[in-house]
C-alpha cells in the first residue's frame, strides 16, 4: 500500500514537472502593456484596466497575469477578451478597416490644414514682397530721375526762366 502511494506521489510530481516548466516569469510591465489596452467593464466609464482601481480590474489583471504565465501571447489574450466582451473591450480602435479613420483623420486633418495654411501664408508673403518691391522700385525711380516728375520739370523750367 505504502509503495503504491509512493509511486503515485512520484508520478504526480513527475506529471507536474512539465506544467511547472511551462509556466514562465511574468513582469509587471508585460501585464500593464495588456491591461492598459483593455477597457474595464465595471461601468466606471472609459478607464482602462491598468488604471481602474475596482475589483473587476483586479480580477482581469490576475487573469492576464495567469494567461501570460501559461505562455499565451498578447494577441491570444486580446482575442479571448474580444470574443467574450466584444471589440469595445479594446481601449483603442483596431487599426484596420473603418476604424482606421479614428487614427488617420486627426493627423490628416492637421496635415491638410497645415498645407492650406502654408500655401495661404506663402501667398500672403509673396504679395507683401511684391508690394514692397514695387514701392521700393518706385521710390528708387523717383530718386534716380527726379526730373521725370512733370511738376518738378515745370518748376525747374520756371526757375530757369527767373534765372
Amino acid at each position: 500500500m505504502r509503495l503504491r502511494l509512493l509511486i503515485a506521489a512520484v508520478c504526480f510530481l513527475l506529471a507536474g514537472l512539465p506544467l511547472k516548466a511551462q509556466q514562465r516569469q511574468v513582469s509587471k510591465d508585460e501585464v500593464v502593456e495588456i491591461t492598459s489596452n483593455l477597457v474595464c467593464q465595471c461601468g466606471c466609464g472609459n478607464k482602462t484596466v491598468s488604471v481602474c482601481g475596482c475589483g473587476t480590474a483586479d480580477q482581469v489583471t490576475k487573469e492576464v497575469e495567469k494567461m501570460l504565465r501559461e505562455g499565451k501571447t498578447k494577441d491570444e489574450i486580446f482575442a479571448k477578451y474580444v470574443n467574450a466582451e466584444g471589440v469595445a473591450v479594446l481601449a483603442t480602435p483596431p487599426k484596420r478597416g473603418f476604424n482606421l479613420a479614428a487614427w488617420l483623420l486627426p493627423f490628416s486633418g492637421i496635415l491638410v490644414a497645415a498645407i492650406f495654411l502654408f500655401a495661404k501664408a506663402r501667398n500672403w508673403q509673396r504679395s507683401t514682397e511684391k508690394k514692397e518691391a514695387a514701392l521700393e522700385k518706385e521710390l528708387s525711380r523717383q530718386q534716380e530721375s527726379p526730373s521725370k516728375d512733370p511738376y518738378l520739370e515745370r518748376l525747374n523750367k520756371e526757375l530757369e526762366k527767373i534765372d
Binding site: 482602462t48 482601481g53 473591450v89 479614428a102 492637421i110 501664408a121 508673403q125
Partner: protein
C-alpha cells in the same frame, strides 16, 4: 412654490421670445426705442429666471418631495449645503443654472453698454435672447424642473449621488458653467458685428475681459474637476479622457486659440475671419459640451444622466452655426473682412501664432473625433467600440509637445520678420538650458523619450519666462540709474510687470502651463502602485516609504457608515503622518465609496486607498506613489493668478482717461511703455 417657479419660468420663456423679436426689429430698423425695450426684456428674463431658480432652491432646501427633481436628488438625511448644491446635480437643475448664469451675464452686458456699442447692442441682445430662448424652451417643454409627483410623492428622496457629495463638486460645476456661459458674450458680440457689418475690432476690445473671465473660470473648473477625480474616484489618476472631461477641454482649447489669435487682429488687423470662426466654434463647443454632459449620449463616469434632450441641442447647434456661417460668408463675399496687413515672413510672431492656432485646433479636433468616434462607429457599422486613454495620449502627446515649445517661442519672436540677432538675443540662453537639461535628465535616470522631450521643452520655456523678466527688470533698473533714480531690483520687477500686465501676465500663465506639463508627465510616466494586505501591526514597504497598519475602526454618520484604517507612514525612517483611508457606505448609495488619504509633498504624493478588510484584523490597501502631481494643481493656480493679473485695471490708462475728461493736457500723464502682447 412649485407653481410659482413654473409660472416664472413660463414667463421668462415668453419674455425671451419678445426680447428676441424686438431686438431683431431694433437691429433692422435701427430703432432706439425698440432696442431699449429689448434690453429691458433681457433684464426681465433675468428677474424671472432668478425667481424660478430661487423657487427650486427653496424646494430643495425644504426637501419638498412633491417636486420630482427634489425627490430625485435630495433626501432627508442630506446635509443642507448639499441640498443647495443639488441645484446643479441633475439635468433639469443644471440647465436652469446655465440659464440663470446666462441671464445674469446678459443683464451685465446690457448695463455695461448703455452708452456705448449702440449699433451692436440690438444684435447682441437678439443673440443672447436667442440662446436664452433655447434653454428656456428646453426647460419649459422637455425637462421641466417644476414637475410634481402628486400622489406618487415619496416619503423620502433618492438622495444625491455619493460621488457628488464632495467639496470640489460643490464648486467645480459653477466654475465650469461660468466658463461655458461666459463664452456666449464674445460670441454674441462677434455675431452682432457680422450681422450689423460693424467689423472693426471694437467687438474684440469690448469682449476681451469677458473672454478672459470665461477662460479663467473654465480653466479653474477643469482643474477642480481633475482634482475631484483624483480625490474621489480612488484610482490615483486625475484625467481619464472621459467624454465629459473632454467636453470641458474642447471649448478650453478653442477659447485659448481665440485668446491668442485676437492679439494678431488687435496688433496687425489680420485674422479677422479666423477670429470670428474661432469664437463661433468655441461657443458651439460649449453647447456641445453641455449636450455631452447632460444627454449621456456617450457613456461616462461623470455623466449623471441619460435623456432625450440630444435632438434639441443638435438642432440648436446646427441652427446657430448656420446663422453664423451665413453672415460670415455674406461679409466674405462683399470683401468686408479683408486684412489690413499680410504675413511678411514665416519667421515672425504672426506665423508662430498661426502655428499655435493650428495645434490648438488640431488637438481639439483629435479630442472631438476620439470622443464621438464610438457613436459614429455604432451609427455607421452598428459596432460598439471604445476610444480610451491610450488613443488620446498617442494622438495628443506629439502635438502637445510642439505646443509647449511654442509657448516659449511665440511671445518672444519678433513681429513681421525675426532676424538672427532677435533669435540670439531672446533664445540663446533658454535654448542652451533646454539642451543641457537633456543629458542631465538622462544622468538622473530619465531615459524615456517623451519625458525627456517634455522636461527639456519645459526647461526651455521656463528659462524664456525668467530671462524675459530678468532682462526687462535689469533694463528698467539701468534706465532709472541713468536718470539718477536708483531702484531696487524687486521694485523694477514689480513696476515692469504692473505697467504691462497683459504681456507679463501672459508670461505668468505660460509658466503655470509649463508647471502643469511637468506634473502631468511626471505623474504619468513615473507613477508606481502596489497592493498590500497587512495584519494589524504589520509593516509594508514601497520605494523609500514604510507604513504600519495600526488599527481599524467604524463609525456611523447621518447618511452613511464609515470604515477607516489608521496607517502610520514613514519615509527613510522618519514619521511623516498618520494616514486615514476610509470606505463610505451611503444608505442611499448602491456602491461603497473610497475616501482616499493623500500626503502631498513637493516631489510626489503618497496616495492610499482602503480596499477591504476582514474580521481577523487584516486589511488590504492599494498604494500609489504619484510624482509631481502637486505641480499640476500649483500650475493651475499660477494660471488663474496670471489671468487675474492680466485683468487687473490699468492705472495709467485710467489716469489718462481722467485727465482727458478733466481737460488737462495729456502730456501731464507720465509716459509708460505701451501695452503690448
Amino acid at each position: 412654490m412649485n407653481d410659482f417657479g413654473f409660472y416664472c419660468l413660463t414667463g421668462a420663456f415668453l419674455v425671451s421670445i419678445y426680447a428676441l423679436i424686438i431686438s431683431i426689429a431694433a437691429g433692422r430698423k435701427t430703432n432706439g426705442a425698440f432696442a431699449q425695450s429689448g434690453e429691458n426684456a433681457i433684464i426681465g428674463v433675468f428677474v424671472l429666471v432668478a425667481l424660478a431658480s430661487a423657487s427650486l432652491i427653496s424646494l430643495l432646501v425644504h426637501t419638498d418631495f412633491n417636486n420630482e427633481y427634489v425627490a430625485n436628488y435630495t433626501s432627508l438625511d442630506l446635509p443642507m449645503y448639499y441640498r443647495v448644491t443639488s441645484f446643479w446635480a441633475g439635468q433639469k437643475g443644471s440647465l436652469l443654472f446655465w440659464t440663470l448664469i446666462l441671464s445674469i451675464f446678459s443683464t451685465l452686458v446690457v448695463f455695461q453698454n448703455q452708452t456705448k456699442n449702440r449699433e451692436l447692442m440690438p444684435w447682441v441682445c437678439a443673440t443672447l435672447a436667442g440662446v436664452e430662448l433655447f434653454f428656456l424652451s428646453v426647460l419649459t417643454f422637455v425637462t421641466p424642473p417644476f414637475q410634481t409627483l402628486g400622489a406618487m410623492r415619496p416619503a423620502d428622496g433618492t438622495g444625491l449621488n455619493p460621488l457628488l457629495q464632495n467639496w470640489w463638486m460643490i464648486i467645480h460645476p459653477p466654475h465650469l458653467y461660468l466658463g461655458f456661459v461666459g463664452f456666449t458674450v464674445p460670441f454674441a458680440f462677434g455675431l452682432a458685428a457680422l450681422i450689423s457689418n460693424n467689423l472693426n475690432p471694437v467687438w474684440i476690445k469690448t469682449t476681451r475681459r469677458w473672454t478672459l473671465v470665461a477662460w479663467m473660470f473654465l480653466t479653474i473648473g477643469i482643474f477642480m474637476g481633475a482634482h475631484w477625480a483624483y480625490l474621489e474616484l480612488g484610482w490615483g489618476g486625475f484625467w481619464a479622457w472621459d467624454p465629459v472631461e473632454n467636453a470641458s477641454f474642447m471649448p478650453w482649447l478653442l477659447g485659448t486659440a481665440f485668446l491668442h489669435s485676437v492679439m494678431i487682429q488687435e496688433k496687425k488687423g489680420m485674422l479677422k475671419v479666423w477670429n470670428l470662426v474661432l469664437i463661433v466654434m468655441t461657443f458651439e463647443m460649449c453647447l456641445f459640451g453641455t449636450f455631452l454632459t447632460r444627454s449621456g449620449v456617450v457613456s461616462s463616469v461623470h455623466s449623471f444622466t441619460q435623456s432625450n434632450i440630444g435632438g434639441f441641442f443638435i438642432t440648436f447647434i446646427a441652427l446657430s452655426l448656420s446663422v453664423s456661417l451665413y453672415f460670415l460668408f455674406k461679409r466674405l463675399r462683399h470683401r468686408q473682412l479683408e486684412p489690413e496687413e499680410r504675413l511678411t515672413s514665416f519667421f515672425s510672431r504672426e506665423s508662430s501664432f498661426l502655428l499655435n492656432n493650428l495645434l490648438f485646433l488640431g488637438i481639439a479636433f483629435a479630442v472631438f473625433w476620439g470622443t464621438i468616434f464610438p457613436v459614429v462607429s455604432e451609427a455607421v457599422r452598428g459596432v460598439k467600440i471604445s476610444v480610451s486613454i491610450p488613443f488620446f495620449n498617442n494622438v495628443t502627446l506629439p502635438l502637445a509637445f510642439v505646443l509647449l515649445t511654442l509657448t516659449g517661442v511665440c511671445p518672444l519672436i519678433a513681429w513681421r520678420k525675426a532676424s538672427v540677432k532677435n533669435f540670439k538675443r531672446n533664445f540663446l540662453y533658454p535654448l542652451v538650458v533646454g539642451l543641457i537639461s537633456i543629458p542631465v535628465l538622462i544622468l538622473f535616470g530619465v531615459r524615456t523619450l517623451a519625458p525627456v522631450a517634455f522636461f527639456s521643452a519645459s526647461a526651455f520655456v521656463l528659462t524664456t519666462v525668467v530671462w524675459e523678466f530678468w532682462k526687462g527688470a535689469r533694463a528698467r533698473q539701468a534706465g532709472k540709474a541713468e536718470s539718477d533714480q536708483e531702484e531696487p531690483f524687486y521694485r523694477s520687477l514689480y513696476m515692469l510687470a504692473s505697467t504691462n500686465k497683459r504681456r507679463y501676465g501672459g508670461f505668468i500663465i505660460h509658466a503655470g502651463v509649463t508647471l502643469v506639463f511637468i506634473g502631468i508627465i511626471g505623474s504619468t510616466f513615473f507613477g508606481t502602485e502596489q497592493d498590500f494586505t497587512l495584519k494589524q501591526g504589520e509593516t509594508g514597504k514601497m520605494k523609500n516609504y514604510t507604513f504600519t497598519y495600526q488599527s481599524f475602526g467604524q463609525r456611523r454618520e447621518v447618511n452613511k457608515d464609515v470604515a477607516l484604517a489608521r496607517v502610520d507612514l514613514f519615509k527613510n525612517g522618519t514619521k511623516l503622518a498618520t494616514m486615514r483611508p476610509e470606505k463610505h457606505f451611503h444608505f442611499k448609495g448602491e456602491q461603497p465609496q473610497s475616501e482616499v488619504d493623500i500626503l502631498s509633498q513637493f516631489d510626489e504624493d503618497f496616495y492610499i486607498v482602503l480596499v477591504g478588510w476582514d474580521d481577523k484584523g487584516t486589511a488590504s490597501f492599494k498604494i500609489y506613489i504619484r510624482p509631481l502631481v502637486g505641480w499640476i494643481w500649483f500650475g493651475g493656480f499660477i494660471m488663474a493668478l496670471g489671468t487675474l493679473f492680466v485683468m487687473l485695471p490699468n492705472h495709467q490708462r485710467r489716469a489718462l482717461a481722467r485727465t482727458v475728461r478733466s481737460g488737462a493736457p495729456v502730456s501731464a500723464i507720465p509716459a509708460t511703455r505701451p501695452e503690448s502682447v
